[in-house]
Amino acid sequence: MAVTQLVGAKIHRREDPRLITGHGHYIDDFTRQGAAYAAFVRSPFAHARIKRIDITDASKAPGVVGVFTARDFKGQLAGTHPAAPAFVAEKKYIPERFPIAEKEVCYQGEIVAAVLADSKAQAADAANLIQVEYDELPAVMDLEKALDAKSPKAHEGAADNISWDLTYTGPEVTEAAFKEADVVVKERILQNRLAPVPMEPRGVLAEYETYDKKLTIWMSSQNPHFIRLFVSGSMGLKESQVRVISPDVGGGFGSKISPYPEDYLVPALSRLSERPVKWIETRTESMQNATHGRGQFYDVEVAAKKDGTLLGMRMTQYLDVGAYCGTFSAFQACACLMAGGAYKWKGISARTIGILTNRVPTDPYRGAGRPEATHLVERMVDLVAGQLKLDPVAIRRKNFIQPKEFPYTQNFGLVVDSGDYEKSLDRALELAGYDELRKKQADLRKQGRYFGIGLSTWIELCGFGPSAATAPATGGIALVESAQVRVTPTGSVIVYTGTHAHGQGHETTFSQIVADQLGVPYESVELRHGDTAEGTSFGYGTYGSRSLAVGGVAVSKAVGKVIDKGKKLAAHMLEAAEEDIVFERGSFHVKGSPDKSKAFGEVAFASYGMNLPEGMEQGLEAVAYFDPPNLVWPFGAHVAVVEIDAETGHVQLEKYVAVDDCGNIINPMIVDGQIHGGVAQAIAQALYEEVVYDEETGQLKTGTLLDYSIPGIGEIPAMSLDHTVTPSPTNDLGVKGIGEAGTIAASAAVINAVCDALSPLGIKHVDMPASPDRLWNMMKGARK
């Protein structure tokens, strides 16, 4: 693609004027005439049998339109919660899940009743009057104990608590590597359970028009077309009867991909009550009900030679599925496939076990499987380096996949498209002043101070994805992307994409691409998304850093089709042969005669007229679907520098350097913003955040933002960023993805720095979050 003035430039976001003036449209800004408000009664127990629900008082409360329990929804909603078999071929057990519990509740927060009232306050008050009698059952909380055949079950009557158990590659593939090894390093690595915490919680407003039999749903979603697919199916409606509109989305981070119980219940309530129905999630509902991420531990062994050559890895992922299998829960098993990181291995043995517990389900959260893989391999490489007394830089250089080896087929048969890992590492070390930092560390250690430097030379696979890989993984629908480009008679360009955005600025970046390719003013291009009634018949949503690498490329292909038609028409207008027409900078001209030309706008206008070549239909618009031939593979190198307070165990991030490579960059300002936010979310995991449940009762202890500490402005350090540019050969734009990169990279850098700081105490590994409490105890123990 020709890079002209827009692609690659810092273009101000066109989303911003409405957002900085208070004119954004988030879900709670919408209402409908005559709307009723829903409130849900949720289980206070992690696991219990429902004995009786008494709705007498609630039904008589002021303003109440109706009180509804599971029975009322039986004729409204059919089927069970969708769960894609992504990445895990052999699904063992997916518990049935109806959006509202009838006999058994399996996590604290599961819905047992719904109240509709004229106002939000009346609905909330009436919900408090519903009496539910429960028989409490034992809660399954501990992953290892849950695997024991004698363990209580997360679902009564289930054979076991195993949702899946899949061995990708058995121990035989690493036998030779471990035989040859001089050292074997073992570790158990925890992945703390995290809450995505988008600043805007979820919300649903639904209006079922009884006489037209049409349903409109306004909701905060990353994935409106999938919601239409699932909800229409469950409600017995055709997709054409349902319209899903997702307006400005106040953050998602993966928690707004999959459908939720309320996404079915609120539309069903509208159909039952013949009124529009609105529900907005409270923060506590969000903490106890929106899907969580991570919640895993890994047992890992790495075999290496004395000189630091990595030979083999054996790893098992133990993943807390939660009480039900999330729609894309099994995607998190991709941590196994990515466990080798940026390095060459003779063999990797990998197994994943998905374990059912009585917690809220886990599902993709920013990075989903790939942060876990990076954390695991980057920690293990440091542990090997520590054992062999090698510098962490040296061991990485020794084992990197080399630039000339791309495309590189890794241990699981995935083909890494392009990379230059040493280049980004070199730049990161330079920016950080690595050698100086090591000198400073030596000095500070003499003073008894705990100063550490941590690296993460991360890689990622994203841009989901090729139909051959994704259609079997979702149960049939390939995660390709669609686009439509419509040119009006006066040359306005309206672009529709099946992706959506929740802060990524697609209205800006996609328009940059189109304006450049068509050579038209940026202002004449408009991007539309998030409404299933517009654009192509299906869209695939935004997650997995796929919007640009799949959706942007689909847009580019649709533009190509528009240009192709324009060439035919221009040839006719200029009385030249089509193959002699060149399109450049918004103008069609005859090869060799730039003065014989027609501007794009002239051709657009002509396309709606009468003087067309024989057989050509009026209009100038095109639809394209892009099925990427491969995934894309961003990479980079991060350096974290920390000092740990010897008295309190508090970690001070002194410096953070990130050099990332996402291929060609459309808008560097937005790319940097994505890195900042991604790194912040990984720092959050490394140092601050953890969803905590009571291990006995299954009560959520971190149900508010006072208890669940997302970082504030005082916790995230300044960052120095830079980029290398290694275009992807997979798509015409040469782009990769950047939405998740920071989160995939940074927890390993921070924890490696923490471990490096504490190494004089003989501490080799620290789990997350590396809170003052955890570190203080470890330091105290080590000093004894």
Binding site: H12, R13, E15, D16, P17, L19, I20, T21, G22, H23, G24, Y26, V197, P198, M199, E200, D248, V249, G250, G251, F253, H502, G503, Q504, G505, P668, M669, I670, D672, G673, I675, H676, G677, G678, V679, A680, Q681, L705, I710, G712, I713, G714, I716, A718, M719, S720, L721, D722, H723, G742
Partner: protein, 107 residues
């Protein structure tokens, strides 16, 4: 504060910051410095920054962090919010040129 505490007081909300099409310098700075992504927290940050700059027209990075510690953002990692507030402070005090080096952010 509770609404009743505001009785008889004058309140400015995000909707009152721009004069017609002309953005308030803090809004402009958030736009220029990419101080927002999803935008949900942005009105809160802009108003908190307005209060901070009214109290302290030329805050240091530390003072900005302390002044805005009551607000949360999940998208930006705060890096560009700090940049935006520094830049707005400069514009509002009309002191272009004596800008301190901005440590945060790339490029």
């Amino acid at each position: 504060m509770f609404a009743v505490q505001a009785e008889g007081k004058s309140l400015t909300t995000i909707e009152g910051m721009a004069k017609g099409e002309e953005l308030h310098p803090i809004q402009q700075a958030f736009w220029d410095e990419h101080g927002l992504q999803c935008g949900y927290c942005t009105p809160g940050f802009i108003m908190a920054a307005a209060y901070l700059l009214a109290q302290n027209p030329n805050p240091t990075e530390d003072e900005i962090r302390k002044g805005l510690e009551g607000n949360l953002c999940r998208c930006t990692g705060y890096v560009n919010i700090i940049k935006a507030v520094k830049s707005a402070a400069q514009t509002m005090s009309g002191a272009a040129g004596k800008k301190a080096t901005v440590a945060a952010g790339g490029n």
